[in-house]
């Protein structure tokens, strides 16, 4: 357990910055809870969701956070499973962030249920044919597995369990993201989904989103607690992020090529790629441009900023592009009408045969942001209560420009 060589210190609580941060997150959570109360009290008709677009903005946030959660654990896996010592010092923060992001995502998911009061039912009634039910088990198990993994990193007496726990956690996160991808990949009814490539795509997405969120939290927490963060590590994380972004772009391309190959799916592909309005814009500008190509340019191309700043910039873009990508998958996929009678023109009083509109309500956005705040509060409390943050990540040189 090499991580024991590093020094870890807790974040000092009740400082002005700490209080301001927690007050800000707390305010967002209170607003989100107010939105939940309103949506639950009035019913979902106050949201933008309908009987055609049944999963809306809360699902965009929830899927993003859940996918990012498993990806955030990769940094720990790099150190423990793949033996990269540089990353071992980041293992504790990586595990904390994984749990925090998952908790935030699940909070959004649960509070968007039509009956959030029946959480106990979801935890006690399982239809084992359902990917959703499997995911409930995978999510709960992830918390436990990562908890044990974190314990083996923090307690030297548990050191002998470190490697096995790391392997289990790594395997679990892969299965978990596969399960999340399969929620969509097994839906044959919807033309935008129903492709096995959804599983590896979601894994690639998780690698990119999780690392981007990790870089942001690492950089901000180090800056706020005045800890030294070397440029070499940032450069390494940025190059890794570029690799993950490229993988995400590759599987995205593979998904669409697969879809185009399917007879009869040309319509939905034209919708997403060409004439789908906001969905097409979010695909090309948000997902591919801002969240894909630009981070690649920042990671590997030329620019004049310090590498830490570049890592931050690329990470912010990956997060924004990721939200756009999840929107395109979740909302864009539902906006395209079901094909009840292939080759025919259809219409009905139930909106058959035409593209479904969806505009998120402010309530849904508040709930989604509340999930982000929940994740960040858990991360902050974790860093405050336990020695999870390295006291410094010193490196020889501070890389500047593009020569890293």
């Amino acid at each position: 357990m090499s991580s024991s060589n590093a020094a870890y210190t807790q974040v000092r609580p009740y400082t002005r910055g700490w209080l301001a941060l927690m007050a800000g997150f707390g305010a967002v959570i209170i607003v989100a809870l107010g939105a939940v109360w309103h949506m639950e009290h009035q019913g979902h008709w106050v949201t933008g969701m309908t009987n055609q677009v049944v999963w809306g903005m809360p699902h965009v946030f929830a899927v993003f956070l859940i996918v990012a959660a498993s990806g955030a654990l990769n940094v720990a896996s790099m150190g423990s499973v793949f033996g990269r010592e540089d990353y071992q010092k980041l293992g504790r923060l990586s595990a904390l962030l994984a749990v925090a992001l998952l908790a935030g995502g699940l909070a959004v998911l649960v509070l968007d249920l039509g009956r959030p009061d029946r959480l106990a039912v979801a935890m006690t009634h399982f239809n084992f044919k359902s990917i959703f039910a499997w995911n409930v088990i995978l999510y709960s198990g992830f918390m436990a597995v990562v908890g044990v993994y974190l314990w083996t990193m923090m307690d030297w007496r548990a050191g002998r369990f470190y490697k096995p726990a790391a392997l289990v956690a790594f395997g679990w996160r892969l299965v978990l993201t596969t399960g999340t991808g399969c929620i969509f990949g097994f839906l044959a009814a919807r033309e935008a989904y129903g492709a096995a490539v959804m599983a590896p795509l979601f894994i690639a997405m998780s690698f990119a989103y999780g690392l981007a969120v990790f870089i942001l939290v690492l950089s901000v927490s180090f800056k706020m607690t005045r800890r030294p963060l070397g440029g070499d590590l940032s450069a390494r994380l940025l190059r890794l992020l570029g690799l993950f972004v490229a993988a995400n772009l590759y599987f995205t391309a593979l998904l669409h090529v697969t879809q185009l190959y399917f007879a009869g799916r040309g319509g939905v592909e034209a919708f997403i790629l060409w004439n789908g309005g906001i969905h097409t814009t979010l695909f090309w500008v948000g997902q591919v441009g801002l969240g894909g190509i630009l981070p690649l340019v920042i990671a590997y191309g030329g620019c004049g900023h310090a590498v830490r700043k570049r890592a931050m910039m690329a990470s912010i873009l990956v997060v924004l592009g990721g939200l756009a990508q999840v929107w395109v998958i979740v909302i864009g996929g539902q906006a395209w009408p079901l094909d009840l009678f292939p080759g025919m023109e259809v219409s009905s009083t139930f909106a058959d045969g035409h593209v479904h509109a969806y505009a998120p309500s402010a309530w849904e956005v508040m709930l989604g942001l509340g999930g982000v705040a929940v994740a960040l509060v858990i991360a902050t409390i974790g860093m405050t209560a336990l020695g999870l943050l390295p006291s410094g990540l010193e490196t020889a040189t501070e890389s500047r420009g593009c020569n890293n």
Binding site: G43, T50, N51, R115, P116, A122, H125, L340, F341, A351
Partner: protein, 233 residues
């Protein structure tokens, strides 16, 4: 309630003939896999202007909406289908297809979406958590989400805000030995385009017609084996 005309009385007697073979289930007796309830809909007898089945369904199920078509529940709808190549047009009643292999039942995490032994697909509102995954999985868009408080409920159809619902094939009537309300109304007030019965009973009209005549199922390619069959599309 309006008086029935002589024509409607005569047509209603036809409905009794169409629906008569249904066997009532004794109280306490479980549904049996010996039966497989289904419908045969002749779209040639179904005009685009006619909404008798839809209106009857709403009344039978107490589906009082809020005049919000995108969020109000619809168990049964008329889908206007037109072939762009030939211009041929049909108006097709579409409801829950009560599939033998229902995608909604497969994906439901809690088991709230369920298939009875006799093939009727239902939602147990007591364990539905309102996740709406069944709505994502249903290729027929046959389910609705209760987006708000419900009023004017029928005692045989409890409806709850935040849960998913859909056509029950009028299971409350079937268990009493009566046909679904839409079938009865179509026979009484329209052209009798719907035939209800037990697909497993070789003596039933529906089984004999399905055996004798060409019928089709919507999205048969998905392999869900719906119990609702169509003629003329």
């Amino acid at each position: 309630m309006t008086e029935l005309s002589r024509r409607q009385v005569i047509l209603a007697s036809g409905a009794v003939l169409i629906a008569a073979p249904v066997q009532a289930r004794a109280p306490g007796e479980p549904a049996s896999a010996r039966s497989r309830w289904g419908l045969l809909i002749d779209t040639g007898k179904c005009s685009a202007e006619c909404n008798v089945c839809v209106e009857t369904c709403k009344a039978e199920m107490g589906l009082s909406g809020h005049d919000r078509p995108l969020t109000d529940a619809q168990y049964l709808r008329k889908v206007n289908v037109r072939d762009p190549a030939t211009g041929a047009a049909h108006s097709v009643p579409v409801m829950c297809q009560h599939c033998a292999k229902p995608a909604c039942v497969d994906v439901c995490p809690t088991g709230a979406s369920m298939k009875r032994a006799d093939g009727i697909v239902l939602v147990d509102r007591h364990i539905c958590i309102g996740c709406r995954y069944c709505m994502m999985a249903c290729p027929y868009k046959a389910r609705s989400f209760a987006h708000e408080d419900q009023t004017g409920q029928q005692p045989y159809l409890p409806r709850g805000k935040g849960t998913v619902e859909g056509c029950t094939l009028c299971v409350h009537r079937i268990d009493e030995g009566r046909p679904p309300a839409c079938v009865e109304a179509c026979a009484a007030k329209a052209r009798g385009a719907m035939l209800f019965g037990d697909l497993n009973d070789p003596k039933s009209d529906i089984a004999q017609r399905v055996a004798r005549e060409a019928t089709s199922r919507i999205r048969a390619d998905l392999g869900l084996e719906p119990a609702i069959r169509y003629q003329g599309i």
